[in-house]
């Protein structure tokens, strides 16, 4: 099958490659670009393990053709670390509050939470539970994930306030 030229911005860096038009974004990221943070859990958009941020929206990259991502700006969990390589606030709070166990849902979870907190910087527990409902976790029962997201919101807001 003939291949198309794909160019996109991944975690702030321009990348390009050749891919069959039918190739899914998750496979392009994982197999062509070797960015293996986003995982494959269901291939039907239900589990959210493949969640990435695409042009400012959370998308499930298992049901996006790579062609649809051409020219897009994409952030994965790898792009959420601080510039000095230390854990970003969400990553640190997931660790602090035991918001992960096997770690398989975690990249999608954190990437989704990253977008959620931009959409709603002051979420209630209910907002978090609703806003994260597209991401399945089999290990944690979500309680500590919710705690981690709320703690991240508080911390990010405190930083923002201090800066103002």
């Amino acid at each position: 099958m003939s291949k198309m030229h794909v160019k996109l911005t991944l975690n702030g860096q321009e990348v390009e490659g050749l891919a069959e038009p039918r190739m899914l974004l998750i496979h392009f990221l994982r197999e062509n670009l070797k960015v293996t943070g986003p995982h494959i859990g269901c291939e039907t958009s239900h589990c959210g393990a493949c969640t990435v941020d695409m042009d400012g929206k959370s998308v499930k990259s298992c049901t996006v053709f790579v062609g649809q991502a051409n020219g897009a700006e994409i952030t994965t969990v790898e792009g959420l670390v601080n510039e000095d390589g230390s854990l970003g606030v969400l990553q640190e709070m997931f660790r602090e509050h035991h918001g992960l166990q096997c770690g398989f849902c975690t990249p999608g979870m954190i990437t989704r939470a990253h977008r959620l907190l931009q959409e709603n910087p002051n979420p209630t527990e209910e907002d978090v539970r609703f806003g994260m409902a597209g991401n399945l976790c089999r290990c944690t029962g979500y309680q500590n994930i919710v705690k981690a997201v709320l703690a991240s919101a508080a911390q990010l807001n405190a930083v923002k306030e201090a800066a103002e």
């Binding site: 670390v81 854990l87 166990q101 770690g103 994260m132 399945l136 944690t140 029962g141």
Partner: protein, 806 residues
């Protein structure tokens, strides 16, 4: 010196040893997307394998045409049973003493069964190849009901076994019969039932479901033709067992096989079994000379690897009028699907189902289990449970409720008067177990008090009045459970899988500068072993947990062990860890005594050092001892500081817990709302409270899913109805309840650190708790038993059947 001014408490805290909520070391990688799961492995020239699967539940395979598929660009090979037969690999042994087709050998026995294996350059080409394989099927009559499967004229499923009257677990009495397993005293139990004041009788069904870890099963097999060494990375909960079994069935010498379990994205029992994909990948790598990856899709996973439960448990429970239980009888019909691929210790074809007397002092009991073949997927794994303990706990906790109804008693009180008492431990159960320790009354009282049980019952009574008066359409159900688990399999004298004894191991090596590496025979799938096992070592030998690297899962480096499932890591490998640490401590004591110029008996261990008795200012820290062990000539003592322990546990451990749930139920819509869920767990000594709490949250959520909607369902033609996450219920953060956790501590007397294991308790305990809440809500309206899962429609149907919709 800094530590001269530190108090022993400070020194102890800095170790981050047992009992502290140490943050997980794994998380630094996982939160950045730097885990290394099997699908992340990419090797030069690696190929991808994918299966052609049967669309039929029972059919003869009359022809397989691979010609077109082989012309698909990128497709390199298509394997069928004919290709595997010369190698003797078209069938493989199951963990239960049966055998299973690797690829369809003349017929298929369940929908989704593996028929051919396509090997291609990438996943897209493999999928194209799968679509191009032509298979001719001749449909056969299907049987999905295990009771009908035992009819005289039922279709013969396993033609390969025709005429075989002896199975792996004794006589077979029918062509679809696998085994009968009996425990206890049948005659005495029937006599008690015959003479009892009250006998409650009920069929309790624990439906078929699936562990469904978020990461599916998969592997990468790589045969290096130059060295003759086969390396297999895979989602294996028991990597060493996989190596031995792979060696035995392939004929490749065991030292030429290296099995590596990388990070595993949840297991829950799904990754204990050996699946056709592993065998086919290995063969394909040998044939092509290239690494071959096979990773299941979600649909493959739900259709073909490792279902759980599917037990029809007919029970009779006898009691006095006052509620003292006098006997328990159970006959289980176990639906095993097309092959008996249960993951149970060899001598226990129905696992530890004989823990079904639960937390109660029941003088006589009898259990019989009949295993039956049907046209469903094989499996029968322990989904976050220790070999059928979930089924047993659900059975007894339902039977108690049924008996309470029969007696007109409060179910909490009925439990209380039948609990095994604290002074009865170690307790010999009527079905053959020796419970190590427990204090059920204390746990129960604490739980009832914590939830305000009496007030809840008052509120419920008021609600029933209001309902009857037409003031509300919502009922309140109070779910009760007191479960006893049996985990930590197990003593080699009676526990093996395929002949492999179920001990486990730990090897600890202290480096000269006082840090360490430890390797275990287990493998974490999210339990946080790298964090917790280091805590055990920290407390035992006084090296900070942060200075200890922990490795598992590589059979070339880790000591042999039987892996992680059945809550066995802490009870068995955790014990091995403590024992290995104690061997090191014993040697350290000799070294310290030499350095301090006193007799061995004149020094004692103090947190992170050995001190001269009565002169605590004279000491040698473990760091100093480690350096000396390598670099100082000590008469009569070998250089180095390391130890290994292979631990064969003297008994299982018996964690227990008391769970109470309050649930609102809408009679008209069948919707439910979990208002509160309280979980008290007693897992003996607690290593890391944060991780324990996380395990309880996760296990209870799996239990919530199972009780309230999750199932593997088939229609009468054997079509799988729940093969995607659209149909297979996995709760999201939205519907998952909030949990309150609590604990008591009753250490195991035979475990070196008193720990019992906790990972599976919440699944075992929460399923009956949620289910009992649903039943309890409808108890005043006449409901005795309704089968899980209690999804919205089924709850609505309960109300409708009870005439509550007017």
């Amino acid at each position: 010196m800094k530590d001269e001014v530190q108090t022993p408490e400070d020194r102890s805290a800095s170790l981050k040893g047992m009992g502290c909520s140490r943050k997980r070391v794994e998380d630094v990688r996982f939160t950045q997307g730097k885990g290394n799961y099997v699908d992340d492995i990419k090797l030069d020239g690696m190929l991808t394998g994918d299966f052609v699967r049967s669309p039929y539940a029972h059919a003869r395979v009359t022809a397989i045409n691979t010609e077109v598929a082989l012309k698909v660009p990128g497709v390199l090979a298509v394997l069928t049973a004919k290709d595997l037969e010369p190698l003797g690999l078209h069938w493989m042994p199951t963990l239960a003493g049966d055998k299973q087709m690797v690829l369809a050998d003349g017929k298929v026995l369940f929908q989704g069964q593996e028929v051919a294996f396509v090997v291609a350059t990438d996943r897209y080409a493999a999928a194209d190849g799968v679509a191009a394989v032509e298979v001719d099927y001749e449909e056969l009559p299907v049987v999905t009901d295990p009771f009908k499967a035992m009819d005289a004229d039922a279709p013969v499923l396993r033609e390969d076994l025709e005429g075989q009257t002896e199975g792996a677990h004794g006589p077979r009495r029918h062509h679809n019969h696998i085994f009968t397993w009996e425990m206890g005293d049948k005659d005495a139990t029937e006599q008690v039932l015959g003479e009892a004041d009250v006998v409650a009788e009920e069929m309790v069904y624990y439906h078929r479901t699936h562990p469904m870890p978020l990461e599916t099963c998969g592997c990468v097999a790589s045969m290096d033709k130059v060295t003759g060494k086969l390396t297999v990375w895979g989602t294996f909960q028991a990597p060493h067992a996989v190596r031995t079994v792979a060696s035995l069935i392939s004929g490749i010498a065991e030292h030429n096989i290296r099995v590596i379990s990388p990070d595993i994205g949840g297991g829950f029992g799904n990754k204990v079994g050996v699946y056709p994909g592993y065998i086919c990948s290995i063969v394909a790598s040998i044939v092509t000379g290239k690494p071959v990856k096979w990773v299941e899709s979600r649909m493959d996973n739900l259709m073909s690897t490792a279902f759980a439960r599917d037990y029809w448990m007919k029970g009779k429970i006898a009691a006095t009028r006052e509620g003292k239980i006098t006997g328990l009888w159970c006959h289980t019909t176990a639906d095993h699907g097309g092959f008996d691929a249960c993951a149970d210790p060899t001598k226990f074809p129905a696992g530890f189902m004989n823990i079904c007397t639960g937390s109660y002092d029941i003088p006589v009991a009898y259990l019989a289990v009949d295993g039956v073949y049907t046209n469903k997927a094989p499996g029968g794994v322990a989904y976050r449970c220790s070999f059928r303990v979930t089924e047993a706990a659900y059975f007894i906790e339902r039977m108690i409720e049924v008996l309470a109804i029969r007696l007109g008693m409060d179910a909490a009180e009925l439990r209380r008067i039948n609990f095994i008492k604290e002074d009865q431990f170690p307790y010999q159960s009527a079905l053959g177990w020796e419970y190590d320790s427990g204090n059920y009354h204390a746990a129960w009282d604490k739980a009832l008090k914590a939830v305000g049980y009496d007030e809840l019952r008052k509120e419920q009574a008021q609600r029933i009045e209001d309902f009857k008066a037409g003031k509300t359409r919502k009922l309140l159900g109070i779910g009760l459970t007191h479960f006893t688990e049996i985990v930590g399999a197990g003593p080699v004298k009676n526990c093996d899988i395929l002949g492999l004894g179920m001990f486990d191991s730990c090897e600890i090596r202290i480096h000269p500068t006082g840090s360490a590496i430890a390797r275990l025979g287990t493998i974490s799938q999210g339990q946080g072993h790298a964090t917790t096992f280091a805590q055990i070592i920290a407390s035992e030998i006084g090296i900070p947990a942060d200075d200890i690297t922990l490795e598992e899962g590589d059979t070339d480096t880790a000591p042999y062990g039987l892996g992680t499932y059945g809550s066995r890591s802490t009870p068995v490998a955790g014990a091995a860890t403590a024992m290995a640490a104690r061997k090191i401590r014993a040697k350290a004591q000799m070294i310290a005594a030499y350095l301090l110029e006193v007799h061995d008996d004149d020094v004692e261990f103090d947190v992170d050092r050995f001190v001269v008795k009565g002169a605590p200012e004279r000491f040698k820290t473990m760091k100093e001892i480690a350096f000396a062990s390598y670099n100082q000539a000590i008469p009569g003592v070998e250089p180095g500081l390391e130890a290994v322990s292979y631990y064969d546990p003297p008994n299982m451990t018996y964690p227990f817990g008391a769970y109470i749930c309050a649930m609102e139920i809408d009679v008209d819509t069948g919707e439910h709302q979990v208002r509160s869920f309280y979980a008290l767990d007693d897992c003996g000594t607690r290593i890391n409270p944060m991780i324990i709490e996380g395990q309880v949250h996760g296990g209870a959520t799996e239990g919530y899913a199972i009780a309230m909607g999750q199932e593997i369902a088939y229609d009468d033609m054997g079509n799988h109805k729940t093969a995607t996450l659209m149909d297979f219920f996995v709760p999201t953060s939205w519907e998952t309840p909030h949990y309150t956790t609590d604990h008591t501590v009753t250490p195991s007397p035979h475990h070196p650190i008193g720990a019992k294991g906790v990972g599976e308790s919440p699944n075992v305990g929460s399923v009956p708790c949620f289910s009992n809440a649903v039943h309890d809500a409808f108890r005043p309206f006449g409901l005795v038993q309704s089968h899980m899962p209690h999804d919205q429609w089924r709850i609505w149907k309960i109300a409708d059947d009870l005439g509550m919709h007017g």
